[in-house]
């Protein structure tokens, strides 16, 4: 079977906006969501920079049992999914009567692990931990909670692929629907925002220390980039077969036409050129289009010296002759890690549907490795018919997705 796979809903809860409308406005204006969190400095962080968004208030929205097992990234994901279901015109009655699945990207849940062990150490009695922490602390917490809240009956698990988790979740969802194994899957990615989740990452000297200018700290591809800025939130996309979307008269927002994946097979944290190149090449091959037909590349580029340089070389190998426009929305959002692969498809979808390319803010000067790319510095009106979105992660996991405007 070779079903066409379409996107009929999307939702976002991000440091640059709490819904699609706010996020689209931020993307168009090049607005940063980065702050300096002084509490991290007091804790001993090398860098206190982070993306930040308000914690959702779900008391009165979800009952206690649904809330008590849900960590903050689950709350972000719940709100993103509510918006995606609304956009897709899907209600609870539909979810009850049909086999709808969930594949969500998530790769940590630090706070409940820390808090529950702190309680054990203090009280010396596991019975004092309570009922919620076990469900909050597992990596599968998001898919676990949302599948219960929305009473889902299809495939149900979490994809943990480091900073490519959200992208792989979409890719695997695409493959399952393409092969006819599921008609509809809620896909996405979620990332907690808290010092507990990022302290050990800060220990790698990987974060920008441009603390005097938080909104200029994330500067992918720029000569003076000095590291990434951790961030978070959640993004959800509703993937379904074209047949299902047509049957229920859904508005089709886009079509997933390619997924490529690879592993570097080298270093646990240092990226290379060949792994990303192979993932992109496989996605383009799967899409069945020439690379020159891709109108925009949403780069993974996180603002690290080595990562951006190697990605630039990989993009240049495939797109150099076309001077394809490239930007990294992480310049505004920071690095949304487990969420990023899904959120960046949402960001690119918003660009495609609203005829613009969001800027790679803070890109002032290229270096020798990034000079080759056509990096978009300021918001640019553009017709995007097809885009490619990159996501790479620790362990050398790589994912690339190709999405196209829908045409019958």
């Amino acid at each position: 079977m070779n079903n066409r796979v379409v996107i009929t809903g999307m939702g976002i809860y991000s440091v640059i906006g709490k819904n699609l409308e706010e996020v689209c406005d931020s993307l168009q204006k090049g607005r940063s969501g980065i702050i300096l969190d002084q509490s991290r400095k007091e804790m001993g962080f090398r860098s206190g920079l982070t993306g930040m968004v308000d914690r959702p208030q779900l008391k009165g929205v979800l009952d206690r049992r649904m809330r008590v097992g849900m960590p903050v990234q689950g709350e972000y994901a719940y709100l993103a999914t509510l918006e995606a279901l609304k956009v897709a015109n899907l209600d609870q009655d539909y979810l009850d009567r049909n086999e709808v699945g969930i594949l969500y990207g998530n790769d940590s849940s630090a706070v409940p692990v820390v808090e529950s062990v702190d309680i054990l150490r203090e009280k010396k009695d596991s019975m004092m931990i309570g009922s919620g922490y076990i469900f909050q602390s597992m990596n599968s917490t998001v898919s676990m909670n949302l599948s219960v809240i929305f009473r889902l009956k299809g495939i149900n698990f979490t994809i943990s692929g480091a900073c490519a988790s959200g992208s792989h979740a979409l890719g695997i969802g695409y493959l399952l629907i393409k092969q006819g194994l599921q008609e509809m899957i809620i896909c996405g990615g979620a990332q907690e925002i808290n010092p507990e989740a990022t302290a050990s990452f800060d220990a790698l000297n990987a974060f920008s220390v441009r603390e005097s200018e938080p909104q200029k700290a994330s500067r992918p591809f720029d000569r003076d980039r000095d590291g990434l800025v951790p961030s978070g939130g959640a993004a959800t996309l509703i993937l379904e077969s074209l047949e299902s979307a047509t049957r229920r008269g859904a508005t089709i927002l886009g079509e997933v036409i390619g997924y490529g994946f690879s592993s570097n097979g080298e270093h646990i944290s240092l990226p290379n050129v060949d792994g990303p190149r192979r993932a992109m090449a496989k996605a383009i091959l799967d899409a069945g289009i020439p690379a020159g037909e891709i109108d925009y590349v949403n780069a993974h580029a996180t603002s690290t010296p080595a990562g951006d340089g190697n990605e630039a070389k990989a993009i240049d190998l495939l797109f150099g002759e076309y001077k394809t426009p490239v930007s990294s929305t992480k310049s505004m959002t920071g690095h949304e890690m487990w969420m990023g692969g899904a959120s960046e498809v949402v960001y690119s979808m918003l660009m495609m549907r609203n005829d613009f390319i969001a800027p790679n803010i803070n890109f002032e000067n290229p270096d020798d490795s990034t000079r080759c790319l056509n990096i978009i510095r300021e918001t640019k009106p553009a017709i995007i018919n097809t885009f490619l979105s990159n996501s790479f992660g620790f362990g050398g996991t790589n994912s690339a997705l190709v999405v196209k405007k829908f045409q019958l």
Binding site: D125, M127, M128
Partner: protein, 82 residues
């Protein structure tokens, strides 16, 4: 602590911590069937009682506790054993 104070405190904890509707609170209410307190809520009640009354409930002592009145009596007995 007087018995009526204990009952008032238990009711308040059930309403505010377990989020049971106030109008469902009555001594004859069955904890599971009428108040919807499931096995996971009981785990949280262990924590709530310890932090508010200063003692740890024992699972084996809860076997005969079916109604809210049973629960009041159990807590009263643990707080005021004499």
């Amino acid at each position: 602590m007087q018995n009526d104070e204990i009952i008032t405190k238990i009711n308040s904890l059930l309403i505010n911590e377990i989020e049971i509707d106030a109008d469902q609170i009555s001594p004859e209410a069955d904890l599971k069937r009428d108040l919807g307190i499931d096995s996971l809520d009981f785990v949280d009640l262990f924590v709530i009682i310890e932090s508010n009354f200063g003692f740890k409930m024992k699972a084996e002592e809860m076997a005969g506790v079916k109604t809210l009145e049973d629960f009041y009596n159990y807590i009263i007995h643990r707080v005021n054993p004499n």
